[in-house]
Symmetry: C2
Subunit: 410 residues, 2 copies
């Protein structure tokens, strides 16, 4: 415990210094980070090679190895991401409200950094760089608890980020094999202002249910696409294939197809053929199985985020039934309707409870870059504070500053 | 448990209907509420009389009886508060971001209601009216868990609010003697979108540490006023007396005075005399006791919110020591510096971690009305989502709506 408390205390002290940096100073540090990443490619790739080799030795599955592995192209993307952050608007210091009372008291509401942000994540080393860069630009100190598989990569990356920064302890890696580290970290509300868990359902639930620090839940995506009775089937198939297969291990990938009964006969055979060509395993409800040949979808399937080449299909009687199913089993991430019926589209958009609700497009667009926010620190699936991709603005809080000359309340 | 789950399920269903109300419809309901409150004064006062009588019989202390008691003036204020909400801007539906991608995908970010908001509070019946009216105007359904002392008043008030509203189950009172009701309520994340505890430190900590629903902490206020070396003592005394004694049972009342050593001799005797005249008990640190006659302040005092005619005084060596003490023991509510030194003021404002930071004014101004937000649902002391007084804007969340015509991600 002591080690993690000490890191958090040190981080809290550093947060005062980070808060004093000007926008120019922060942008210079970001450009310095980008340069150092560029000139440290060998060091990064060598460390990453050790992680990849260890993971292979441990029998980690190939989709995870893919997320863990770095190459020059991935490093280029990291560098580009950091450079873009230097170009983006700095929200810290922005005045978002002003009022002068009759007694001449001046009240302003301004954006400030959170202080210390703890991010708990899994194996992708590019997250390490994004977290450091976003926290810096939004005037917070970062405490990073990455996956143990990426420990060598993360050590090198955090060291490079820290070397580029004039404030000591701006980026703090929890470099421990202590399995209880996450649980210890989320108790430290005196030193950590915000915790963001990025990862699987189990991690996120554990952190949310046990944290004494404020939490923003991110990234679990049991995403649905509902094909309405008035849908264009060509469009539906193109969108579903894209949302399901363009990348499978990401939170905005499609997991469930909900089909209106009146379109099922026209849609399902063709859709099934195309899914099978792409190697997707289909699990269907009873009614789906009457139309196409597929495995059984059981109750567990409806709530599950596969993150794999698997899809479950359910036939419903009405848009309302689709909305009800999605609100029951969805994770409030990204949900879509395919329809040419305006009334059904608007009802779906209004009544489906999710961060991003689509009509006639692939859910794969839910992403900080696509939404114009730049690098994101995660995709919030909660309603409080921030919803959907979280960029620099979401990483600020506010403070009221009230200046007087002796005013008292009557 | 079943009863509370049933209330929450019913509330969730009602939230879909509340979300469909237009601004005009909501404002008409608010005016209808105000009228019905006005025409139901006898009914309200009779019910309140029972609560007050029961509380007296139980030996509840007079300051609590004062918070519980209603009279015509307090009912006037309730009515005025509801009418004002009808005049205030409706944030629901506001478009706060728009973007068109190169592929013609249209992304908008808009404000929406939370859905179902649970408010757990203590004995003040005016909170019941404010919660119903604020939730309605911000397009959410309310679940209210008030203090058992106010149960008769709350039953009547919620019935009046509900009668004024065309949507059934818009306002739901948890009318139970089940002592575990709060604990049951905070587990229901499938039906409740946000929990706001208003009350003492114990309640707020319990809810924050045990809730599976998102929580906004409110209202614990261990508020400090720091008198700097360069302070005008007349101003300091006037502000301290106001912040400590104008009302003592409120969260923005002063609890601690921190005094720079160089001003202690000039300030403390006069301050002490004026506090004693107002009936305030003084507890001092060792150095304070060398200057004035007062009780001992022990370690516990520094963290305590007295909500009473008690103040603790501590002498420090520097503004930095004052900031450190406040950041250690404060509850991030309202903190003030009294100084004519700009550098010290700016440092205090920047480095004290609180929702509202004042220079040369009484902390008593931290309040939704004073800050121009209208009725407030509480004063947030956390950094996430909303900070300080929470009005209608804080009671909204957002949703991304993305409209396409077949777009897929490349």
């Amino acid at each position: 415990m002591n080690e993690i408390i000490e890191i958090a205390k040190t981080a809290k002290k550093a947060s005062v210094k980070i808060a004093r940096l000007t926008t120019d100073e922060k942008n210079k540090i970001l450009l310095n980070m980008a340069e150092r990443l560029d000139s440290s490619r060998d060091r990064i790739l060598n460390a990453n090679l050790i992680d990849v080799r260890n993971a292979r030795d441990k029998g980690v599955k190939e989709s995870m190895i893919d997320r863990l592995s770095l190459d020059d192209i991935k490093i280029d993307l990291m560098i580009e991401s950091v450079r873009q952050l230097a170009e983006l608007k700095d929200y810290v210091g922005e005045i978002i409200g002003e009022k002068r009372l009759d007694n001449s008291l001046e009240i302003i509401e301004k954006r400030i950094g959170f202080g210390v942000i703890g991010v708990i994540y899994e194996s992708r080393p590019n997250v390490t760089v994004d977290v450091c860069a976003i926290c810096l630009k939004s005037s917070s100190v970062a405490i990073l608890k990455g996956g143990s598989d990426a420990i060598n990569s993360n050590r090198v990356l955090v060291a490079i980020m820290q070397d580029a920064c004039c404030v000591e302890n701006a980026f703090n890696l929890i470099d421990t094999t202590d399995r209880d580290a996450v649980n210890k970290m989320i108790q430290l509300r005196d030193y950590i202002d915000l915790i963001i868990p990025r990862g699987g359902y189990g991690l996120i639930n554990f952190v949310r249910d046990n944290s004494k620090v404020s939490v923003i839940e991110t990234g679990t995506g049991n995403c649905h696409t509902y094909v309405d009775c008035d849908a264009d089937c060509d469009k539906a198939i193109k969108i579903i294939i894209n949302a399901k297969t363009q990348r499978t291990g990401v939170c905005n990938a499609l997991e469930k197809v909900i089909v209106h009964k009146d379109v099922a006969d026209r849609l399902l055979e063709r859709l099934s053929d195309e899914l099978v060509v792409k190697g997707v395993e289909i699990r269907g409800c009873e009614r789906t199985k009457e139309i196409i040949d597929c495995k059984d979808a059981c109750e567990d399937d409806w709530a599950k985020e596969y993150l794999d080449l698997i899809v479950a299909i359910k036939i419903v009687n009405s848009p309302d039934d689709a909305i009800e199913h999605i609100n029951r089993y969805g994770t409030k991430h990204s949900e879509a309707i395919i329809s040419d019926n305006c009334k059904n589209i608007e009802r779906f958009i209004d009544e489906v409870d999710a961060a991003a609700v689509y009509s006639n497009a692939s859910t794969r667009f839910t992403d900080g870059y696509e939404f114009g926010l730049g690098a994101e620190i995660g995709i919030s699936t909660q309603k409080m504070h921030a919803r959907g991709p979280m960029g620099l603005k979401a990483m600020t809080t506010t403070k009221y500053v009230i200046r007087g000359n002796g005013q008292v309340r009557e």
